[in-house]
């Protein structure tokens, strides 16, 4: 014989004053957990969104990030015309030799500063990255000292509106357009012409080279050949693999999230336990009555577990609702790979919300286990006699 569900639901609400604090506590815990994890998810998603499986990136052997790599012009000449690289209509290889420069810029509306990543793209740079699209203004004209900045970055950095100019290496650069990269790492970049960037920032070398492969087989052949060529101290890797590995920035956020979840859930378990003990204490006579009516110990135990679970789940739902408005909200921090400002979003994936709810349920059940055991073990007569 089991108790009807309405009994549990009503019990949760009848002592609403004591319940409210616990529900709110669980809600906040779940909200914090979900939000911090959603940051890590957003960061990793922006890395994962970036690569194109048909592209191969070439960097210096030993460098850990594109921005700290160097590829000389001689090296580029050596591999640029290999047959595995796809060609465009004019039969030019689809290769983009990029220059990455870090620029210190003030943040929008504050004294604080940020490092901004400038990418000088080669001729085929845009064709190789079709996810990058212009959303306002126009593309830069090489030689005119023009740049196109990410719209999301523009929201965070001073003087990045279209029509603004800013000073870099003694030259005035004009912002002529905004780009958007569909939530990829390019949403944290400023683009300009590659050779112009090399001139302005006095860079002898390219940072990296991105090439489009003819097909899957040629990609494997190209990587083998690059590895085997002793003249080239370079490393080739698929663009997807490169960006897939750029997840270091998410590590501290994950640590923070895990730590917060653990510590806060312990607190929440205590709170739930307190509420449930109080509930058991207040309903001692009721429990005795139920037992006399023939309900078994097991039923009482389950009843309190269900009640605790419901209570916490309510908090979990509330917490998810609290966190939900921040979904898609764009934020930024320094990337631990490139040391430049990286823009990403809170991403409240459905599985993350489900995890939050499961987490709250766990807190509720863990918190009500001991009180429920106590309720189930109450001696019937003594319980009936209690006031």
């Amino acid at each position: 014989m089991t108790l009807p569900l309405t009994y549990h639901v009503r019990n949760v609400f009848v002592r609403w004053r004591a319940t409210l604090a616990t529900v709110a506590g669980v809600a906040l815990v779940v909200a914090v957990y979900v939000l911090v994890q959603s940051l890590a998810v957003g960061l990793e998603k922006s890395s994962r969104n970036t690569g194109d499986p048909r592209n191969v990136m070439i960097v210096r052997k030993g460098s850990t990030a594109e921005s700290s790599s160097q590829v000389t012009r001689e090296q580029l000449r050596l591999f640029k015309y290999w047959p595995q690289i796809a060609r465009d209509e004019q039969d030019r290889p689809l290769a983009s030799a990029d220059v990455l420069v870090m620029l210190t810029r003030p943040r929008r509306g504050s004294e604080a500063e940020a490092h901004v990543l400038i990418r000088g793209v080669g001729a085929a740079g845009r064709a190789l990255r079709p996810q990058v699209a212009l959303v306002a203004g126009r593309w830069f004209v090489p030689g005119q000292r023009e740049v196109v900045v990410s719209r999301r970055l523009a929201a965070r950095i001073a003087a990045f509106d279209i029509g603004n100019t800013f000073k870099a290496a003694g030259r005035e650069l004009a912002v002529v357009g905004w780009l958007e990269g569909q939530g990829s790492a390019f949403d944290s970049e400023v683009w300009m012409d590659g050779d112009e960037a090399r001139r302005i920032f006095d860079r002898e070398f390219y940072s990296s080279v991105l090439v489009r492969m003819r097909d899957e087989r040629s990609a494997a052949a190209f990587l083998r050949r690059l590895e085997a060529d002793k003249r080239l101290p370079l490393r080739g890797l698929r663009e997807t693999d490169y960006y897939g590995a750029q997840t270091m920035t998410a590590v501290p956020i994950r640590i923070l999230g895990g730590f917060l979840a653990t510590a806060m859930s312990i607190g929440a378990v205590f709170a739930a336990m307190n509420t449930m003990y109080a509930s058991v204490g207040a309903r001692t006579r009721e429990i005795g009555t139920l037992r006399v009516l023939g309900y078994r110990r097991r039923t009482i135990l389950v009843s309190f577990l269900v009640e605790g679970g419901l209570l916490a789940l309510l908090g979990g739902v509330l917490g998810c609702l609290l966190a939900l408005p921040l979904h898609g909200y764009s934020t930024g921090t320094i990337s631990l790979e490139t040391f430049t400002e990286t823009v990403f979003e809170f991403r409240l994936a459905p599985w993350l919300l489900a995890k939050g709810l499961a987490f709250s349920l766990l807190v509720g059940v863990a918190g009500s286990l001991l009180p429920a055991l106590r309720a189930a073990r109450l001696p019937v007569i003594a319980a009936l006699q209690s006031v």
Binding site: R17, A18, A21, T22, A24, G25, L28, V32, V36, L39, R60, G62, S63, T64, A65, S68, Q70, V101, M102, L103, T104, R107, S110, E111, E113, A114, H115, R156, A168, A169, G170, F201, D202, P233, V251, P252, I253, I255, L256, L260, A263, M264, I266, G267, F270, A271, M273, N274, T275, Y277, A278, G281, A282, T331, G332, T333, I334, F339, E341, V387
Partner: protein, 381 residues
């Protein structure tokens, strides 16, 4: 029975509840201290003795762009300048490590004692460091961690610089704020990279503290409109600039801190409420016996205060003990290094505990003050 024992007995009457209440306060305060310490570590640069008179010169474009070595002669001729050394981050990987947790900097060895006066190194080790081009000075913490001995050879793979290095331990320093770096000869780096003649930053020591602002302005002026314009600033300003790079993470941690405090107040207040409501009848009896509202309030306050402070003792004390005995650097893969629980943070946590003790007693106290004796005696719950 004295008032003290009465309060104590009341607080411990429901031992389980008292325990849970203390523990939840303790956990929250532990969390609070941890977050504050983490926030401090990423927002407030540590101050050290030598920093006051150091000026850091970087490329105006950003730290990522190098400076020409020829600037040194110009810097040294400026009137307020006492000493100049290149200070270049090598950023290599040590042996086969995936991520090396200590920094390696290429410097002018002869100028290092002037620029880094707080570093304590035995004179014979300084001499050995000066003499050998491949020599390096290792921070004590790193030396202990890896069990380095004088004379050990340390291989590094360049991640930023396209050259690998092999350094020989000539000395071990301690006494700086972060004894976790390796210093080596800039000449060796320059040679290994093929005479690029470029440096990461310049570290400049001013002749006196009064001249700092003047020297900063002089340096900025000296390279204005040259091919490599610089940005000179005091070490402190430099650190603040680095910290502003963290962006919104600081706001995030700060808001989490406030959520934690809020949750803490909520949970403890509800526990106090529960405790008081449970003995409404009893309090009504006390009222009927002639106890004043003020006295009843004092009972409740004392109990709530006691629970909050006991929680603080466990939570704050626990945090202090934990972080001063556990290597956080290893636990967080080197993201947090010192993780020092400062007296200021301890004070803040205690303040919150006190506020909590007072805050949590208000609602029940008001309820008790308002209740009429008859009503209270009738309460069953």
């Amino acid at each position: 029975m004295s008032t003290g024992t009465f309060v104590l007995k009341n607080a411990l009457r429901n031992k389980r509840r008292a325990g849970l209440c203390i523990l939840s306060v303790a956990v929250s305060l532990f969390l609070f201290v941890t977050l504050l310490v983490a926030l401090r570590e990423i927002t407030i640069p540590p101050e050290d003795v030598g920093a006051a008179s150091r000026i850091i010169v970087r490329n105006k474009i950003s730290l990522g762009t190098l400076l020409p070595a020829r600037q040194r002669a110009v810097l040294e001729r400026l009137p307020g300048v006492a000493a100049v050394t290149p200070f270049t981050w090598y950023g290599g990987k040590f042996r086969d490590e995936d991520a090396t947790l200590f920094g390696q900097f290429a410097v002018d060895p002869l100028k290092l004692p002037v620029l880094l006066p707080e570093a304590r190194v035995p004179p014979e080790q300084w001499a050995a460091f000066f003499k050998d081009r491949r020599a390096c000075l290792v921070g004590k913490i790193v030396a202990d961690q890896y069990h380095f001995q004088l004379g050990d050879r340390l291989p590094f793979t360049g991640t930023i610089w396209p050259c690998d290095l092999e350094l020989r331990v000539a000395g071990i320093y301690e006494g700086t704020l972060d004894d976790r770096n390796v210093f080596f000869h800039h000449d060796y780096l320059n040679e290994a990279v093929g005479e690029l003649n470029q440096v990461g930053t310049w570290w400049v020591k001013a002749r006196s503290l009064d001249q700092m602002a003047e020297v900063v302005a002089e340096i900025n002026h000296a390279f204005a409109n040259t091919a490599a314009e610089v940005r000179a600033e005091t070490e402190r300003a430099f650190q603040m600039s680095m910290i502003s790079m963290w962006g919104n993470i600081r706001i995030l941690v700060r808001s989490i801190c406030s959520v934690v405090v809020f949750t803490l107040v909520l949970v403890s207040a509800s526990t106090m409420n529960m405790a008081v409501r449970e003995r409404f009848r009893e309090l009504a009896v006390l009222k009927a016996l002639g106890f004043r509202r003020r006295q009843l309030f004092a009972f409740i306050l004392a109990e709530s205060f006691g629970l909050a402070l006991a929680g603080a003792l466990v939570g704050v004390g626990g945090a202090w003990f934990f972080y001063s005995h556990v290597s956080i650097a290893r636990l967080t893969q080197g993201i947090f290094i010192t993780f020092e629980v400062t007296p200021r943070i301890l004070g803040q946590a205690w303040l919150i505990a006190v506020g909590l003790g007072i805050g949590a007693s208000i609602a029940p106290a008001v309820a008790v003050a308002r209740m009429s004796v008859v009503e209270g005696l009738k309460t069953l719950d």
